[in-house]
């Protein structure tokens, strides 16, 4: 197997794409994290279906709830970012459109992640 690789390639360690496994692994790590976290979120939101504003903010402000929410949101948006990236790369091939959509999805997931985590922290710290 290593006969198919140049010495320089073997020394550098990376293939033509430079990086790919990191993306695949991060997707799996966030997926594993999301198994319990997403179930917890779904259950919690179902229980809060008809709750009023005071009850919802009281729940979010609880320290362990806020922490778990932040972790869930982080894992969700990272997982979504990676997933959308793969979908875009699969279907959009023209140079500009592909890069534009990749940038847009990356920025959007980060922005939504930052916004939602900020909202949780604001509720948690304001009590």
């Amino acid at each position: 197997m290593s006969a198919l690789r140049s010495s320089l390639g073997r020394a550098r360690g990376l293939g033509a794409a430079k990086d790919g496994v990191a993306h695949w692994w991060a997707q799996r790590v966030t997926a594993v994290a999301l198994v319990p976290l997403a179930l917890w979120l779904a259950y919690s939101l179902a229980r809060l279906s008809f709750a009023d504003h005071a009850a919802v903010t009281e729940w979010i402000a609880r320290p362990w709830v806020a922490i778990t929410l932040v972790l869930t949101l982080f894992a969700t948006f990272y997982h979504a970012k990676l997933g959308l990236q793969v979908v875009i790369e699969d279907y959009v091939h023209s140079g500009f459109a592909k890069h534009a959509m990749l940038l847009l999805s990356t920025f959007a997931t980060f922005a939504l992640g930052a916004g939602s985590i900020f909202a949780v922290l604001k509720i948690a710290f304001q009590g």
Binding site: R28, A31, V32, L34, V35, A38, L39, A42, Y43, L45, A46, R47, L48, S49, F50, A51, D52, H53, A54, V56, T57, I60, T76, F77, A80, G83, L84, V87, H93, S94, G95, T109, L112, G115, S116, F118, A119, V120, K122, I123
Partner: protein
Amino acid sequence: MPLAERPLSPHLQVYRPQLTSVLSFLHRMTGVALAVGTLLLVWWLAAAASGADAFATVQGVIGTVIGQLLLFGWTFALFYHLMNGIRHLFWDAGYGYELTTAYRSGWAVVIVSAALTVLAWVLGYTAGGVL
């Protein structure tokens, strides 16, 4: 650099849909749908952080018929993507590639996802005293 327009060999028009291919497509589609659905989640959290008025607005939208339909679809997308995701993780670990196993796990995913969706909605309506 412009890409030359070359023809693709037909796939969707040719191959008969099977559980494996349909569930795979559904996994991707629910993933995209969930990503779009995060907009509602962020709106809901931002509204909660803003105040009672903003929160009442978003709750009102969610409470409409269309809102409930979308939320129901999103719930199924969540549980389906979650269950099929677990199925994928087993594949990543090297288990379950035999055809019979893949079909059994596939049907299990569909059934469990539907059950969890119904369960979540029963829980939601019960918590609100509607049921």
